[in-house]
């Protein structure tokens, strides 16, 4: 056991001290944050003050246009030609001309002039402000109070969805939100999928290196091949966990730093724009209390059984990796070079791909259907599928426990199998390997 720790230590330190590890660990979050910062900076930089000249011959709109963000509206009493001359000389950014005979019942004939093609966000703002004013005029004409209309607009039937699998301690069902659940499950499933491939391949390359440099015979004269294999698998897992933790911490820290340093209105402007561009702008601008749907989403995320979700994620993350990591080690031991490993990758790739595809199709559509159930029981697919199912809720405790037990059984089985192949494979050179040979190795006495 002590010797396994020595192996784990070496496998861990050798990889963590590598330049590529440092580069990837610290570079990737910086790159991500840098890209976001660059995009934000470009957006902010692009926001020069724009003056839009409005030629309002109806005199109905003046003082009903609100300057907002980077746009200032100036109402001028000049001819369209003069205004266009200003536009050409760059004195103004755009010109809006509202004809005197504008019919509020059928508003037509308003023109917009700009150098180049106008963006929909600007024309949208102008037309929305005009619509608001015209509606106001129409309400006056029809004799309807604005408050009446608002109250009519406010009618909404909101279905608050409840998940009754996990009754809270107070006997109340947790509120659920399918969208939030799906998002969280997907993120975790993608992390597991990537981790297995990235770090599994790392285990495999490590085994091939030991075999190719022939150091392995010296090592297995000191330590059992199985111990060496497990030491490597665990050491690499710790490298992955370190990287993951550092990424989470770094992204958090960088996000914090970025939010302090960037001009405050960089985010505000963006958020405003997003809001302004939604059709139901009023409703979203309203507070969360007035908007049960959004409130429910936020509420659900906060109220999800986070403890359970995170624990399940960690369990299936580690269990799935150990199982596949051992298989990667077995493949590495059987082949003589990286190139030869391709032919044996299929049994690893297929179940992972099935789980991954299912995650975005059958499981997402019916997280508690038969396909989702069975895929979350089979150890080769359960790490990904179960991680997706749990945030949705509806997974009975016995299902979860059964799946965990099966996964433990599964990884003990695969590790045993991998160990059998590994102990023979590492000492074999220049033999032609196929599945029949591997099967023979499994049965062979030591």
């Amino acid at each position: 056991m002590k010797k396994v720790l020595i192996v784990i230590r070496r496998e861990y330190l050798v990889r963590v001290q590598k330049k590529t590890f440092l580069l990837l660990t610290f570079g990737a979050p910086l790159l991500i944050v840098g890209l976001i910062a660059a995009v934000v900076a470009l957006t902010v930089a692009g926001k020069e003050e724009k003056t839009i000249t409005i030629l309002d011959e109806t005199a109905l709109f003046e003082s009903h246009f609100e300057d907002g963000g980077d746009i200032t509206y100036t109402f001028k009493d000049q001819s369209l030609d003069d205004a266009l001359a200003d536009l050409t000389s760059g004195k103004t950014f755009a010109v809006v001309s509202i004809p005197a005979d504008l019919d509020v019942r059928d508003p037509k004939g308003v023109t917009f002039h700009q150098k180049g093609n106008p963006t929909s966000s600007i024309t949208g703002k102008i037309s929305r402000q005009m619509v608001d004013r015209i509606r106001q005029l129409r309400l006056e004409q029809e004799g309807i109070a604005e408050t009446t209309l608002d109250s009519l607009n406010g009618i909404r039937v909101n279905l608050a969805t409840f998940d009754i699998t996990d009754m809270g301690e107070d006997g109340e069902a947790q509120q659920s939100s399918a969208g939030a659940a799906q998002g969280i499950g997907m993120v975790f499933a993608v992390i597991i999928y990537m981790f297995i491939f990235l770090y599994g391949a790392m285990v495999m390359r490590g085994v091939i290196e030991e075999k190719m440099t022939r150091i392995v015979e010296v090592i297995v004269s000191s330590i059992k091949p199985f111990q060496l294999m497990m030491g490597k698998v665990i050491g690499v897992a710790l490298v992955g966990l370190t990287q993951l933790t550092l990424w989470v911490l770094l992204l958090g820290a960088l996000g914090f730093v970025a939010s302090t340093f960037l001009p405050e209105d960089a985010f505000d402007a963006e958020a405003m724009e997003a809001l302004a561009n939604t059709p139901n702008a009023n409703a979203i601008q309203a507070s969360l209390a007035d908007n049960p749907e959004l409130a429910q989403g936020v509420f659900t995320v906060l109220n999800m059984p986070w403890g359970q979700i995170l624990l399940t994620f960690l369990f299936f993350f580690v269990g799935g990796y150990l199982m596949y990591g051992a298989l990667f080690a077995a493949i590495g031991s059987a082949v003589d070079s990286d190139a030869d490993s391709q032919q044996f990758m299929l049994p690893i790739t297929i179940p992972l791909l099935i789980a991954y595809m299912a995650a975005f199709t059958v499981v997402g559509e019916d997280p508690n259907g038969p396909a989702a159930f069975w895929l979350s029981m089979i150890p080769l697919t359960s790490p990904i599928v179960m991680t997706i199912r749990v945030p949705y809720g509806g997974v009975e405790m016995w299902e979860l426990l059964l799946s965990m037990v099966l996964l433990i059984g599964g990884f003990i089985g695969t590790i045993w199998l991998a160990g059998r192949i590994y102990r023979i494979g590492i000492l074999m050179h220049g033999t032609k390997i196929n599945y029949r040979v591997l099967a023979k190795w499994v049965k062979m006495k030591n």
Binding site: V14, M212, V218, S221, H429, K440, M444, K445
Partner: protein
């Protein structure tokens, strides 16, 4: 006292029998040459003693005790196919291998320093193996084999691939380690190093043991009882003695190779010869290990 006793060990792989009922003994503090053509089963036996693979049948005793995992700490092993982690520093690598053999970090550091000084390579600690020449890497591999002061050192084809300077260095170290009390087993099919170093030998041919004992015993066993005689006078004629080669015009003396019956005492033979001829030289033709090796392999082919 025998350090290693191999009793009736057999090992079969899927397709072929690698060892068949092999028994041999390695005396303590001997340098034991494990001989045999390529593919005879030497490496299999060595791997079994190193507990890398398991025997199918038989027994292996280390100083009378059955071979067990504890023995890993007292065995040093240099495999035929040897290597090091390319990207690891020399010092870290030796430290790692020593710790796997059961040394504490402190003990390992002491030993590594001792060997670095001995081989005059003190500045290698931080060097990566990939930056070492082949000869330099071989020194590091040798250190890794002996740094935990093993009582039994097993070297599989130690001189293959070593350059002559290193081979000489390793030879000296082997002798020195033996003087300090270690038992050394080395497998080889190069007989000149056996003549130079070994005091005991064992030979495996086609999975079976065909030879085991001290070098003298073995040579006696394979002696053809041929003596070279330098003499003057009539050709010697004695009962049961045969002249198998003669070169009468070789300088001032005549020379003859005479074959005596098995078990003949050279003193008796010489006494008889003195009566017949004027003896100027008398020498027993002892077979070289090379002759023995070849005769065994050829005998089998015939």
């Amino acid at each position: 006292m025998d350090f290693i006793q191999v009793k009736g060990v057999s090992k079969a792989y899927a397709e072929h029998q690698a060892l068949r009922d092999v028994s041999l003994t390695v005396p303590e503090q001997s340098i034991f040459g494990l001989l045999g053509p390529n593919g005879a089963g030497k490496t299999t036996l060595i791997r079994i003693i190193n507990q890398i693979i398991e025997k199918d049948q038989g027994e292996i005793l280390v100083k009378g005790q059955p071979l067990a995992p504890e023995h890993i700490a007292i065995i040093g092993y240099l495999p035929e196919e040897r290597g090091l982690y390319k990207k690891m520093k020399v010092g870290d690598q030796l430290l790692y291998l020593a710790q796997l053999r059961g040394l504490t970090k402190k003990q390992a550091m002491e030993q590594i320093r001792y060997w670095f000084k001995r081989f005059e390579i003190a500045d290698w600690w931080g060097k990566k193996v990939e930056d070492l020449s082949k000869g330099m890497a071989q020194k590091v591999q040798f250190i890794s084999t002996v740094m935990h002061k093993p009582k039994l050192i097993i070297l599989d084809e130690p001189f293959s691939g070593f350059d002559p300077v290193n081979a000489e260095l390793i030879k000296d170290e082997i002798l020195e380690l033996r003087r300090q009390g270690a038992t050394i087993i080395f497998s080889t099919h190069r007989m000149e190093s056996v003549e130079q170093l070994c005091d005991h030998v064992g030979m495996i041919h086609k999975s079976q043991l065909v030879l085991n004992g001290s070098k003298e015993e073995v040579k006696k066993q394979y002696s053809k009882n041929v003596f070279t005689l330098h003499y003057l006078g009539e050709d010697p004629t004695l009962d049961g003695i045969e002249i198998v080669g003669q070169d009468s015009e070789n300088g001032e003396f005549k020379q003859a190779a005479i074959k005596a019956p098995a078990g003949t005492n050279p003193n008796d033979l010489l006494r008889q010869l003195i009566d017949k001829v004027e003896v100027h030289g008398f020498r027993e033709e002892v077979p070289s290990m090379n002759d023995i090796f070849i005769s065994i392999v050829k005998e089998d082919q015939a």
